[in-house]
């Protein structure tokens, strides 16, 4: 079946995961946006029935899911791989309590770091927290496996992890619609203190329960349909899972495969039986030797990471070459200027980073669109580790540097990231008599992941009006005495506010408030674009140093320059394209009044 119909849908992996959750009768779903997981909750929100929400962070999201499951409603938590680090605290103990109604955690790994700060392999969490993990290969399996995960969760009284990667989350394929099931439980309060109260005496009992559950899961794995043997020629056998299965099947369609749908715990007998039948056994997996280590520990001879890279994504070509086959050559690449992502024209972050560059401070950065402030010509980010880290790092530097660091370090953090995990860092600064300047970039939205509302946006994931947290008031309530709100589109005012905050004795917060240029209201706002009068432009390149995609350098020949009345040494002029959104930063930095408003609005 290849065509879309009432029963067959063309879906991305994330859309299919949402469909699976809907069909499983999920009651409550919570998560925090993060590529490549974001679209799961956004798509689940389109269905009637499930309650969905953006939580301030993944830990809160998972805890919400735990509450729903304890109350007897099927629950889903979604997050990207680094989000599971944040949610790891409840995760490990949730494994002890188990669930009442099914609880599934969809975790999206990002091998190759398309949009992440690391490429940790979260299969290791399944092992560490003793939680079963399913790994689908394509959108059709994504739907199936989520439904199956809810069944396993209830049958084995355990949370279940579903692992996706970028090449499943954002791959589209055909998915067959299934039955919408009615979960066995109806939400109600049932006190089960021995199971839900994890103090040592209860936890020790639950630890034994977990061990028995692990044994039962290992037995299940031996005879579990998603662990599928596909016999071909027996010269080469492959044990693989997820998207690696598809890549390997593409290259060696004639070989034998043991495709694991359940990647933890592993079916030892099934693996041994498969290994015994094939001449040469290969383990094909992205990132860590997770399967390989365990299979080798079973005493089975196999080839894995000695040939298959442990760094970055795999691809059919990489697998082909690793196993000694020639890939098609393709044409030699030409040398081209790189095209990295950039802040949009009119982006409210640009003016701030322009100022920070000029102030020559150490910028302790964070995760969001504004991480692009690292790139030239703004070049104003000096560290970036994880969500919320900017504030703690600035504080640590302050304490290490003492007086020599005074006024020389700032932290920058977006509004959504501040709610995610910045508030505790700021509390620490106040409590422990720090002296840092924290800049909160309040653009009213979670930008990088595609405009998910956050606690300061004034609306929910479901589109309802919500309370707008007053960030300035919150900072003051924590005890920050110097809190100032500025419009970052005004360069001079912003610079003055930054200097004042840096000079302030004690913790200081500057909130740069201006909506993301891509928000619908901002896009609709009447804008008057700017233009450059070539005869007035001296070619000083000040405006180019804003790094605005709408401004570019136009080189001229000596004759053209003479015709424009340029001095002999002027080699060109700057110009503004139709991408201009009228923010006016360039007119503010031009010392020669060469940048003027166009005569019509757009």
């Amino acid at each position: 079946m290849t065509q879309e119909s009432a029963d067959h849908l063309w879906l991305s992996g994330n859309e299919a995961l949402a469909l699976g959750a809907f069909e499983a009768g999920v009651k409550v779903a919570s998560g925090y946006p993060g590529t490549p997981s974001t679209e799961i909750l956004e798509n689940l929100t389109k269905y009637q029935g499930p309650y969905t929400e953006w939580a301030p962070n993944e830990k809160t999201g998972l805890e919400t899911a735990i509450g729903a499951a304890f109350a007897g409603g099927r629950a889903l938590a979604t997050m990207k791989h680094v989000g599971l680090n944040v949610a790891a605290d409840p995760l490990f103990t949730l494994s002890y309590t188990g669930v009442r109604a099914g609880l599934v955690i969809i975790n999206a790994d990002d091998p190759g770091m398309h949009s992440s700060q690391n490429e940790q392999d979260n299969r290791n969490y399944a092992y560490a927290a003793k939680i079963p993990m399913l790994e689908p290969s394509d959108p059709a399996e994504a739907r199936d496996f989520v439904k199956l995960a809810f069944e396993l969760s209830e049958e084995f009284d355990t949370p279940v992890l579903v692992r996706t990667t970028t090449r499943l989350a954002h791959v589209k394929g055909m998915v067959k619609r299934g039955e919408v099931v009615t979960p066995p439980l109806t939400p109600n309060i049932e006190k089960m203190a021995a199971k839900f109260v994890m103090l040592p005496a209860n936890a020790r009992v639950r630890r034994e329960v977990m061990a028995k559950r692990q044994d039962r899961l290992r037995n299940l794995a031996e005879d579990f349909a998603p662990n599928r043997t596909e016999w071909g020629t027996k010269k080469r056998g492959f044990i693989t899972s997820g998207v690696s299965y598809l890549y390997t099947k593409e290259v060696f369609p004639e070989a034998s495969f043991l495709k694991l749908g359940l990647v933890y715990p592993l079916p030892e007998k099934l693996i041994k039986d498969f290994a015994a039948e094939v001449d040469e056994l290969f383990i094909i997996e992205e990132l860590d030797p997770f399967l390989e280590t365990r299979i080798k520990a079973m005493g089975i001879k196999c080839t894995g990471k000695e040939k298959i890279p442990a760094i970055g994504e795999l691809s059919p070509d990489i697998i082909r070459q690793a196993l000694g086959e020639q890939a098609k050559p393709g044409f030699e690449p030409l040398s081209l200027p790189m095209r990295p992502p950039n802040m949009c024209p009119g982006c409210p972050h640009r003016g701030l980073f322009y100022n920070l560059n000029r102030l020559k401070v150490f910028v302790s950065g964070d995760i969001g669109c504004y991480t692009l402030g690292f790139l030239p010509p703004l070049s104003a980010m000096d560290s970036c580790v994880c969500m919320g880290a900017s504030i703690g790092i600035a504080h640590g530097m302050d304490k290490a540097l003492g007086d020599s660091g005074r006024g020389r370090v700032v932290s920058v953090i977006g509004d959504s990231t501040f709610f995610h995990s910045g508030i505790t860092g700021l509390t620490n600064i106040v409590y422990n008599k720090g002296n840092s300047t924290v800049i909160i970039l309040d653009n009213r939205i979670t930008g990088m992941t595609g405009h998910q509302p956050n606690p300061a946006s004034g609306r929910t994931l479901q589109g309802e009006t919500a309370h707008e947290v007053d960030i300035a008031g919150l900072c003051r309530a924590l005890g920050v005495e110097h809190v100032q709100v500025v419009n970052p589109q005004h360069l001079k005012e912003t610079k003055e506010a930054l200097v004042e905050a840096l000079e302030f004795d004690g913790p200081s917060v500057v909130i740069t408030r201006y909506p993301c240029a891509l928000l619908p209201a901002e896009k609709k706002r009447l804008k008057i674009p700017f233009t450059i009068e070539p005869t007035k432009c001296t070619g000083c390149t000040s405006c180019l140093r804003l790094g605005c995609p709408a401004i570019s350098w136009q080189a001229v020949s000596p004759a053209e320059g003479a015709a424009l009345g340029f001095k002999e040494k002027q080699k060109g002029y700057a110009r503004i394209s139709e991408m201009c959104n009228g923010c006016g930063l360039c007119a503010q930095v031009c010392k020669f009044d060469a940048i003027v408003k166009e005569d019509k609005a757009i």
């Binding site: 063309w10 991305s12 890549y247 200027p337 802040m343």
Partner: protein, 191 residues
């Protein structure tokens, strides 16, 4: 029959819509299709690429080196970024529209204006189209992507009617007419 199409350009140019229309047209013709997209940090004005594979049976969603049968490029220079995916019979449909990458905008690097000639010199079949100008003439530069889909459609094992049916069923009414005209203009360019 199996094939692979690379859709490339700059974030925000409409690569996803171009690849979606093509995917649906191939599926309506009876092919199995898989498509891999780029979201998140890779957008925001950066280089963007989507892989589309079709055939009776398709496993991997990624096209291998030297295995793209078609390239649809929405930006001139971006076409050359994917040369390693091309083989001797690859058919390229490329826009002549130029968007300066940051180093060029800063005046630190030159835009390789003859890049399409360099690609042709390798013996590759390349149809270049001023999709931006055509779309502007139609009244909306954002339809440049569908102009290129129109041109690409003439090389694919899919009928013109199938593409038109797909657009009628998938595109919102307010942009349908514009896109049908853009598609027709693109086919005209390839004729």
């Amino acid at each position: 029959m199996k094939g692979g199409i690379i859709f490339c350009g700059v974030g925000g140019q409409g690569i996803l819509l171009a690849s979606e229309i093509t995917a649906f047209a191939l599926m309506a013709t009876g092919f199995t299709v898989k498509k891999s997209e780029v979201h998140g940090m890779a957008q925001r004005g950066g280089s963007v690429v989507a892989h589309l594979r079709y055939g009776q049976e398709v496993y991997a969603p990624l096209i291998g080196q030297g295995a793209a049968d078609f390239i649809l490029s929405l930006e001139k220079m971006e076409t050359a970024r994917y040369l390693n995916f091309m083989h001797e019979q690859t058919q390229i449909v490329a826009s002549t529209h130029q968007i300066a990458p940051p180093a060029v905008a800063m005046g630190q690097a030159a835009y390789p204006v003859d890049i399409l000639e360099q690609i042709r010199d390798k013996g590759l079949a390349l149809l270049s189209i001023d999709s931006f100008a055509i779309a502007r003439e139609l009244g909306e530069v954002r339809a440049a992507n569908v102009v290129l889909v129109g041109a690409l459609s003439t090389f694919l094992p899919v009928t013109e009617e199938t593409f038109i049916e797909v657009m009628k069923s998938k595109l919102p009414a307010r942009i349908l007419d514009l896109n049908l005209r853009a598609f027709a203009a693109g086919r005209q360019e390839a004729a």
